[in-house]
């Protein structure tokens, strides 16, 4: 009896303190629980009125607890999964019968061939999970002992492709790419934590909550977004354009109310956007911030703003248009090749005269002032919009070794310079907003566990005075009515400018292809919205005044209703208490 007790005591001491104590301790711990990573739910994304744009649902990974497998269950699991998921039986059976224990692995995640020589983890949706759970609960069903389904979050975009380019997408590993998902990925994702999950009841503890990702409220209004997307779709169809964008922004705050792009991107099905097109080019996601283009005549707004602000010209300054001008040895012609004779500056904008604007830039402003103003307008620089993948555009200044004086002439009417749509909106917001340029942004509210945070409007600068901005707005309002009747909206005074830019190729400008655009804002007395329309390579007409201006008109007609903006006369009446 004493001998047995002594032996037990020695063995206890050996297990507890002997050379193999760490091994015994590890074995003990392994049976107590398993180490798991708890991933917090990714933050949700809402529109400004609370409509959910991005949320989370479940998908399930198929995991196998090796120690619970039996020869029968190895067969049955492979057979059931092979049938349900259309995966070769042999592939699954090989994974189930491999000697994982000798590699120190007791729990594995099943994979499927990806068709390119690699393997991807098997994921199943709720319906398949329900079938498998039914088998697990039914003793007469195939033996699935050892099979476990581990839930994992799946990003879901309930509105489908609505605002898809704004949102970006989240891949299967839970990483956000492009758009808001890419820009705010770290904030949205939260911080996963590693916990020891107890397997025996006495050790059970409530599961800890890992630091959750923040919820985002966007500046996007889904009603306006839907309307704008419909308008873009229609215009692409009617003009037979290759692609296009429409952006609506509040010029006072820089809040983007809608940002539509075609071809549309459905973030639920983003895989086609990862492939290159037939020309070997990568598709452009979120083109509003990442697709640069030559803005053409819409850029004349900035040239005229600079000239007015320096006092080089006034709206009534006259210029005799002879139909051509030579700047730096390069002959510049008007869009129609005609000579328009004596014109005021308002007339120059109304008829969109390249010759006049090249004259203003080269003879009135000079390269130094012209490029200084462009720099102040943020041309060639990132706006800092909260979208992943923004590009800065291209502007060759006199410091550039390849710059020539002819660049000054062509840049004045938007040729030889590249901008992104949001960059142009930000620059022109100075004209619509009394000289103050605001940063375009998409997030209105960030809500974390500690509370909510409302990002404030960021002023990017004041490139022109309020007086210049007001004068130019009036000029553009007058010139708009003369330039195109298609942008007119009854009851509302609007300002804007058309643009028709040729498309540069490696052999020079394509004679047939254009980018037709329009940028406008209103109501003039107190601008509530700016709208930029861009149609790439329209076929029915190359001109911005013919294909882009009507889209602006169509959008504004609906916009004033959705934004509850009364006509000018009614607003004046209401403001005096009528």
């Amino acid at each position: 009896m004493g001998l047995v007790a002594a032996t037990l005591l020695i063995q206890l001491v050996r297990v507890q303190f002997g050379p193999y104590a760490p091994i015994f301790a590890a074995r003990g711990n392994a049976s107590v629980g398993r180490v798991e990573q708890v991933v917090p739910a990714r933050g949700q994304i809402y529109d400004r009125d609370g409509q959910i744009l991005a949320t989370n649902a479940n998908l399930y990974h198929i995991e196998i607890e090796i120690r619970q497998l039996t020869p029968r269950s190895q067969q049955d699991i492979a057979a059931v999964l092979s049938k349900l998921l259309v995966i070769p039986f042999e592939n699954l059976h090989n994974q189930l019968t491999r000697d994982w224990a000798s590699q120190g692995q007791f729990r594995i995640r099943l994979t499927r061939p990806d068709g390119q020589g690699g393997n991807l983890p098997i994921t199943v949706d709720q319906s398949v999970a329900d079938v498998l759970n039914g088998f697990l609960a039914d003793p007469t069903a195939p033996d699935l002992s050892g099979l476990a389904m581990v839930s994992a979050p799946k990003r879901v975009y309930p509105a489908g492709s609505l605002a898809g380019h704004v949102l970006g997408f989240v891949n299967e590993e839970g990483k956000g790419f492009f758009g808001v998902e890419g820009y705010y990925d770290e904030w949205l994702a939260g911080k996963p934590i590693t916990i020891e999950q107890p397997l025996i009841p006495p050790e059970a503890r409530p599961e800890p909550n890992p630091p959750a990702g923040v919820n985002l409220v966007l500046t996007i209004d889904t009603e306006i977004q839907q309307m704008v997307e419909d308008a873009l779709k229609e215009s692409i169809k009617s003009s037979q354009a290759e692609s296009g964008q429409i952006i609506v922004m509040d010029p006072h705050t820089g809040e983007i109310l809608a940002m539509a792009a075609s071809p549309e991107l459905d973030p639920n099905n983003y895989q086609p956007w990862l492939k290159k097109d037939k020309q070997g080019k990568e598709p452009v996601i979120t083109p509003g911030a990442s697709a640069q283009y030559e803005p053409g005549s819409t850029f004349k707004i900035l040239t005229m703003a600079a000239a007015l602000d320096t006092g080089a010209v006034t709206p009534d300054t006259t210029f005799v248009d002879t139909g051509s001008i030579e700047v730096g040895g390069h002959e510049i012609l008007n869009w129609d090749g005609r000579a328009w004779g004596p014109q005021t500056m308002t007339g120059c904008m109304q008829h969109s005269l390249n010759v006049c604007l090249a004259y203003v830039a080269s003879d009135k402003l000079g390269a130094k002032d012209f490029y200084q103003y462009l720099a102040n307008f943020g041309i060639g620089r990132l706006t800092g919009i909260d979208l992943a993948g923004e590009v800065a555009g291209q502007l060759r200044t006199p410091r550039h070794p390849l710059w020539t004086e002819s660049d000054l002439g062509t840049n004045s009417f938007g040729q030889g310079v590249s901008v992104t749509p949001v960059q142009l909106l930000a620059a022109v917001s100075a004209v619509a907003n009394g000289g103050v340029m605001v940063q375009p942004h998409l997030v209105r509210e960030v809500v974390g566990p500690q509370g909510a945070y409302w990002p404030k409007t960021t002023v990017l600068g004041q490139p022109i005075s309020k007086q210049t901005a007001d004068t130019l707005s009036q000029m553009l309002s007058q010139s708009l009515s003369g330039e195109t009747q298609y942008a007119h909206v009854n009851g509302y005074e609007l300002a804007g400018k058309t643009g028709t830019a040729q498309v540069p190729t490696e052999y020079g400008y394509d004679p047939n292809l254009t980018i037709a655009s329009f940028i406008g804002w209103g109501p003039l007395a107190d601008p509530q919205f700016m709208v930029l329309v861009r149609l790439d390579k329209p076929k029915t007409s190359p001109w911005g005044s013919v294909v882009a201006a009507p889209v602006f008109q169509q959008v504004v007609q609906r916009l004033v209703v959705l934004m509850h903006i009364p006509p000018d006369s009614v607003r004046a009446q209401l403001s005096v208490g009528g």
């Binding site: 409509q51 959910i52 649902a57 309930p158 609505l162 009841p201 409530p206 909550n209 839907q226 009854n490």
Partner: protein, 155 residues
């Protein structure tokens, strides 16, 4: 002396009997104490196991409910997506209003709705791992360390 000598055998006989009773009763008492301690230990262990089982069950239920909630949220959002709502409105005979069909009125005292505030995500409870009292989970060694460690640390 004589009396004392006469009494000694009787006393030793009585002492032997008493000792036997005493040792037996001590043994029984010890067994009873051990049984009580064992019983108490068993009862506490059973309670801990039961509480732990409930925790595991509730955690599992919580996980299921959260997942179901996520699914329902996504479904609800899909059902109220603008495109779907617009299609339903058109099917019911509505159409978008034109600007000249709208009448604007000034309503004294009207306050526009407050901006939408998104719900707060759950706070992290990473730091508070032990929701159960240590009395339910700690070992004797841990208890001794805690008690004597704390006592020793006091000035």
């Amino acid at each position: 002396m004589t009396v004392a000598n006469r009494r000694r055998p009787q006393a030793s006989r009585r002492t032997g009997w008493r000792l036997a009773v005493r040792s037996t009763s001590r043994a029984i008492l010890l067994v009873i104490v051990l049984l009580c301690v064992g019983g108490m230990y068993l009862a506490v262990s059973a309670k801990v196991a039961d509480a732990g089982r409930q925790v595991l069950t509730l955690e599992s239920r919580k996980r299921d409910l959260l997942q179901a909630n996520k699914e329902l949220t996504a479904q609800l959002a899909a059902l109220t997506a603008p495109e779907r709502m617009m299609a339903r409105a058109l099917a019911l005979g509505f159409r978008p209003a034109a600007p000249d069909e709208i009448q604007y009125l000034k309503v004294p005292g009207y306050e526009p709705p407050t901006p939408f505030v998104a719900p707060r995500p759950p706070a992290s409870t990473e730091g508070s791992k032990t929701m159960l009292s240590p009395a339910y989970t700690e070992t004797l060694g841990e208890w001794l360390t805690r008690v004597f460690g704390r006592t020793g640390a006091q000035p």
